[in-house]
């Protein structure tokens, strides 16, 4: 085991040594690699540019636009019940009890006594993604956490919404240039509401959630039009 380990580290050390002599040519004209993470405004962005393996969300994407399965029984009873359902959904948003970093503190503070999210029926925080409606991504998303976060998102049943809370989740924020962070979660998952601020105040979060309610009520019927994947235009 010790020997094996040694070999591994020798490898990596050599790699590091090679990089140590970065060619001076790169100083003059750095070569920018075109990234598939930017341009993809389609389900392909889910796993970094490849067409998604079958999840229930990917299957929704395969559906013809317009009528997808979010109305459940009402697929066979086409009525104006969409209005009612949107009203219900907008008024019972169960957030997923998941915080990544600093903003999670403000998220909890928004749910506690001083400013009470429960007034708007944005409670209770569900611990299991199967029962959650809205994923509040609060805090810096690192590349190591990206996989679990995407899986959480895929485990949530439709209809579901995503709220990006804080600068780090909107754009990378103060850790934009780190080697281990994702510059905005919209590279890896769809986002409905962006709440800037480092961190945003609890009132800001509640305002964003109220905006999300308006979004839900206003977007009746056109569910399938939501773009899955990065919403950042190329070249930003």
């Amino acid at each position: 085991m010790e020997v094996n380990e040694t070999t591994v580290v020798m490898e990596t050390a050599e790699a590091g040594a090679d990089v140590a002599v970065a060619p001076a040519s790169s100083v003059v004209s750095p070569i920018i690699v075109p990234s598939t993470g930017w341009s993809a405004a389609d389900p392909a962005a889910y796993n970094g540019g490849r067409p998604p393996t079958i999840t229930h969300l990917a299957q929704l994407e395969l559906e013809p636009k317009g009528d997808n399965g979010r109305w459940g029984a009402l697929d066979v009873i086409p009525t104006k019940a969409d209005y009612l359902l949107d009203y219900l959904r907008a008024n019972s948003l169960w957030p997923l009890l998941s915080g990544l970093a600093c903003c999670a503190m403000e998220m909890m503070s928004a749910a506690t006594s001083v400013n009470d999210m429960d007034r708007f029926n944005m409670f209770p925080f569900r611990a299991s993604p199967r029962q959650a409606d809205v994923l509040i991504v609060a805090g810096t998303l690192t590349t190591k956490m990206a996989g679990p976060l995407i899986r959480l998102w895929e485990q949530m049943p439709e209809p579901k919404w995503c709220v990006a809370m804080g600068d780090c989740t909107c754009s990378g924020g103060r850790y934009k240039r780190s080697y281990a962070t994702v510059e905005g979660i919209d590279r890896v998952m769809p986002v409905d509401v962006y709440i800037p601020g480092c961190p945003p105040r609890p009132e800001g979060l509640i305002y964003g959630m109220l905006k999300l309610q308006q979004l839900i009520v206003g977007r009746r019927g056109q569910w399938a039009d939501r773009r899955v994947g990065p919403t950042v235009p190329a070249g930003v």
Binding site: E5, T12, G16, A22, G48, K144, Y179, V182
Partner: protein, 239 residues
Amino acid sequence: MGRPPGRPHRPRGRLTEAPPDQSRSRPTDTALKRRLEARLGDQLAGPVRARHDTTEIVVGPGNLAAVMRALREDPAFRFELLADLSGVDTGTVLQVVYHLWSPLTPDWLRVIADGLPREDPRVPSITFLWKGAEWGEREAYDMFGIIFEGNRDLRRIYMPPDFKGFPLRKDFLLPDDAARSPGMGVRYMEQPVAPAETRRQPVLRTSPGTGSLVAGAGHQELVAGETAAPALSQGEPGP
């Protein structure tokens, strides 16, 4: 945290160890200095320095275990608390720096294991003295690639286990230093996509700055060399 325009980039040189100017420093405990020289003067690689409330000794990686054991268990020292364990990259060599606390002296003691080569940096692990140093050593291994011989659990602790390169080394360039980084603008999530069977190859997961993504002749060879390396078989998913 971008740099304001027009501000010259900081010349990133090697670290030059200037001798501490004794005029401004206030050495507090001179007795400790004498005791250290008397007890383990032969094992020290350099003079005992004292500045502020910190006494500093430098040892070679060979003597480290003996020195630390003496410092912890000698009733004359009783440095019971390992305050910190840190790796340092001076640009030429790597160092491991320990900070110790003792109830017998108002000073911090800084022990520097100096002169670790970049290619194969190795120091003995001190987990037999402080079991709590285990994660500190894991972090130093993760960030600097320093191998602590005797640590049972020397894994990556922060970066993913298949990550190549050591972020805190000076030759690991952030995209921040855009003018000098071969991997400028390359972000982890943005790397070009390869077929699924080659996905486990570490080339695609090399960090920004390791240069494997730059289309250049030298780097192509580097890529080839890395893919051919036997260590890659460890990256494969389990059966």
